[in-house]
């Protein structure tokens, strides 16, 4: 009965595995070969069973022949499978046909003639075959096929790598287990039990071969085979040793009480032992679980608690979560009434409460750095335990009082233990724990766990803090980068505004010159009355001058802006201050008159001469006076005063200050800082004068600074402007 069930189960299992492999790759030749192999195995197992079955005595010859034929075919299919596993080479079809043909011939000859299996002989344990005239050649052929198969597999194994190698290892493992079990059942068990009764079950172990091969074919990621071998071997050997041991005891006891060993009883005993081994660990962990639940006061799983915490700590970088995990894990594992964490605040140098559970809220525990407790924790790197404070050595009065204070404090907040969190010789925090709910003392085991936890916790806390710091840095850098990007954007906008303005400025005088010259060429100018003609020509002249002004501004600005630009001391000359200023005022008189503003020089001057490069100073002062004229209306509507520009000078020990003061439209206060930047024009500048390049004051600043001086401005919207150019009285190499 058991035999039939085993037979059915094993055959069914092999069949299902075959189907499974087939479904995974219906067109894959490897999978198809495997299906053939497994079907062949099933027929072999069935034939092998029936050959020795008492009910089939009449057909015993046929079933023995079938067994033999299936065995031969198995060789063929194994060879074919070895050729295509794990990957199939091309052009195998002819070989396939030949191999199957030979297999079929041998099968037919075996089944229906007596050339190979002539007859069978009956023994008390079963049947055996007697070979015919072709028996020996067929056996040789079969052996040759098996050797070829093994050779192919070994050769493939050597050549293969990665997944293929692993797949082949699985195949080998299947073979190995198949052989191991066959040999156990055919050799070892007969020796032990003295009968050959179980030999017929040997064939069932092909399930190992089929099972492992199925796994190798169907799974993409395979488990490391060495692990499986190791585990199987360890388990198997343990079984064997225990089974032998038990069997030995049974045999000894049996002989002592004078009873003959009953094989069935022996088997039942051994199976019970194996079962006992199998369920032992399950039962043990179940009771351990129960015990932990009801005897928590003294029992907890040190390793599990620690692993769980370590896992949680690696899962987060959030400081609050880390602290939560630490507190909850310690409190729950050890069943404590309270727990809390103090962390060092770098700014205040205090250890402040990060989180507490169970402590009275109004205790407000907080510690300063470098106090007795923290120093002790850092020095010993060991937890401070309240109950052990009694036995601390008191080397001096101050120590005695410190220990006393500590005792009082710990008692006050009902803390039983302080655990240091130390990273690189720095106490970054303290874990403060209360008493166990059971009122038991902290055991050695507890302290070992706490020690491990404190290492883990220190690292996790430090990482989280570093991460937070880094985030802050990244944040501030991001802000920085954004500000820079905005600045660049502004520069680009200024540049494009500059290009638009400049092209407009260059075109305006050009268009007038072209227009008037065109009229002249066509003789149209001569058709105008003399007065109009004269005015027109004057206009053209002014526009030409204006054009020259813009071009030289642009050229000058780019010259001054180049990195290599420097004024040279040897080019500096003595300049008569009064002449210098008067000349510029005269030069600008026409424009001032046109604008309707008055320009005057305040006297007396504090000195008669200055030093510098005259062309540049001319230009700088010219620009300043030009600006004053342009941005001063003939009448200031607010104050109802006439437009006026006053140039005055003052002197101190080292510098002369030339002041150009107007009562014009002024400059908005918030824009004064940017006034001397290239291409920058005050927002209200366009009201008075459209054509500015935004270069004039840039040029002024460069020139004045090139002389070792500085330029300042006082102004406000509608309040007029005062520009003060300060130049050193004695320019030297040092200050230019």
């Amino acid at each position: 009965m058991i035999s039939i069930i085993t037979l059915t189960l094993i055959s069914l299992a092999i069949f299902i595995l075959g189907i499974l492999v087939f479904i995974k790759g219906k067109r894959n030749i490897t999978n198809i070969s495997f299906v053939f192999l497994s079907l062949n195995m099933i027929s072999w197992i069935i034939a092998n069973y029936l050959a020795d079955a008492p009910s089939q005595v009449a057909n015993a010859l046929f079933w023995n022949r079938a067994t033999f034929a299936a065995g031969c075919l198995m060789g063929v299919f194994l060879l074919l499978f070895a050729l295509v596993f794990p990957k199939s080479p091309k052009r195998l079809l002819a070989f396939w046909k030949l191999a199957i043909f030979i297999g079929l011939v041998i099968t037919i000859l075996t089944l229906f003639t007596d050339l190979i299996v002539e007859k069978i002989e009956f023994y008390d344990w079963g049947t055996n075959i007697v070979g015919g005239s072709l028996y020996i050649p067929v056996i040789i052929w079969a052996v040759a096929i098996i050797i070829t198969t093994i050779a192919i597999l070994v050769w493939k194994y050597k050549k293969s790598q990665g997944l293929e190698k692993l797949q082949l290892r699985y195949l080998f493992l299947g073979f190995f287990l198949f052989l191991l079990f066959t040999m156990t059942l055919n050799l070892i068990l007969p020796v032990i039990t003295g009968t050959n009764e179980y030999a017929k079950y040997g064939s069932y172990s092909v399930i190992f071969l089929i099972g492992f091969t199925t796994y190798a074919i169907t799974r993409y990621r395979l488990m490391d085979i060495r692990l499986i071998i190791k585990r199987s071997l360890v388990t198997f050997l343990s079984f064997i040793v225990i089974v032998f041991f038990v069997w030995g005891i049974m045999a000894v006891v049996g002989s002592l009480i004078g009873r003959k060993p009953d094989p069935r009883l022996t088997i039942v005993g051994l199976v019970s032992v194996v079962l006992a081994i199998l369920v032992f660990s399950l039962v043990k962990s179940f009771f351990e679980h129960l015990a932990n639940k009801y005897f928590f006061t003294s029992l907890y799983n040190y390793q599990t608690a620690f692993e769980k915490l370590a896992r949680e700590l690696t899962h987060t970088i959030n400081l609050d979560q880390i602290i939560d995990s630490i507190i909850e894990s310690i409190k729950d594992t050890m069943r404590l009434d309270r727990a809390g964490v103090l962390l060092l605040n770098e700014q205040t140098s205090n250890y402040q409460v990060q989180k507490t559970i169970g402590f009275a809220a109004d205790n407000g525990i907080s510690l300063v750095r470098n106090n007795f407790l923290t120093n002790h924790l850092l020095k010993t790197r060991q937890p401070v335990i309240f109950q052990e404070l009694e036995s601390w050595p008191e080397n001096s009065d101050s120590e005695r009082s410190e220990i006393g204070k500590l005792k009082f404090n710990m008692k006050h907040i009902e803390a039983a233990l302080c655990l240091p969190l130390i990273i690189r010789n720095k106490l970054i925090g303290i874990i403060v724990l209360g008493n166990k709910i059971s009122k038991d003392a902290y055991t050695k085991e507890d302290l070992r766990l706490l020690d491990s936890i404190s290492h883990q916790a220190s690292i996790a806390v430090e990482n989280a803090r570093l991460y937070n710091n880094m985030e802050e840095i990244v944040d501030s850098q991001t802000k920085d980068i954004k500000a820079k990007a905005r600045h660049l954007e502004k520069l680009l906008k200024m540049r494009s505004e500059f290009l638009d303005t400049t092209s407009h400025q260059l075109r305006t005088p050009t268009s007038v010159l072209i227009g008037i010259l065109e009229m002249a060429v066509k003789g149209e100018l001569d058709m105008l009355p003399q007065e109009k003609k004269q005015k027109q020509l004057e206009g053209a002249y002014l526009k030409a001058k204006k054009l020259e002004q813009i071009v030289s501004d642009l050229l000058r600005a780019s010259e001054l802006d180049s990195a290599s630009f420097r004024l040279k001391l040897e080019d500096f000359r003595e300049i008569n201050l009064e002449e210098f200023l008067n000349r510029i005022i005269t030069f600008k008189a026409l424009e001032a008159e046109k604008q309707g503003v008055e320009v005057c020089l305040a006297k007396p001057l504090p000195c008669s001469k200055i030093f510098g490069e005259k062309i540049f100073l001319d230009e700088a002062m010219g620009n300043l006076i030009d600006n004053a004229i342009k941005y001063t209306p003939s009448k200031n509507k607010k104050t109802d005063t006439k437009g006026k520009i006053i140039i005055s000078c003052a002197k101190d020990d080292k510098n002369i200050h030339i002041k150009i003061q107007d009562n014009g439209i002024g400059i908005p206060k918030e824009e004064i800082g940017k006034l001397f930047e290239k291409f920058n024009r005050a927002s209200n500048a366009k009201e008075m004068y459209t054509d500015g390049t935004g270069l004039g004051l840039f040029i002024v600043k460069k020139i004045i600074e090139g002389h070792g001086g500085k330029i300042e401005v006082e102004s406000g919207l509608g309040q007029g402007s005062t520009f003060i150019a300060s130049l050193p009285l004695q320019p030297s190499l040092k200050n230019i």
Partner: protein, 127 residues
Amino acid sequence: MIKQKILLIEDDPDQILMYQNKFELVGFDFIAAENAESGLSLAKNEKPDIVLLDLLLKELTTATGLEILKKLKEDYETKNIPIIVLTNFDTRQAEEESIKLGADDFIIKSKIGLSPLVERVKKVLDK
């Protein structure tokens, strides 16, 4: 024959003078405005046949050239007067805006002589 009347809105007196000389020589009535306010009122009261409009006026705080254009085109009294934008402000944006707001032509002053400008004006007037 009644002379056709041109209104130039332009802030630079030198240029006004030049355009006035040229257009009067070729037989137009010519009036000019130096700011937005007088430009708008002249357009209403004088009923010019065409307006030449500079985009960059000094008094940017009161109205840019484009705003003048918009106002002229919005006012039922002036909206049928053809307008040529005449400027040295050479950006595609300015041109697109001008055409969108209803200008009949967009001319860069420095790229065109006075006689070709007269031709362009006549062309717009003939439409």
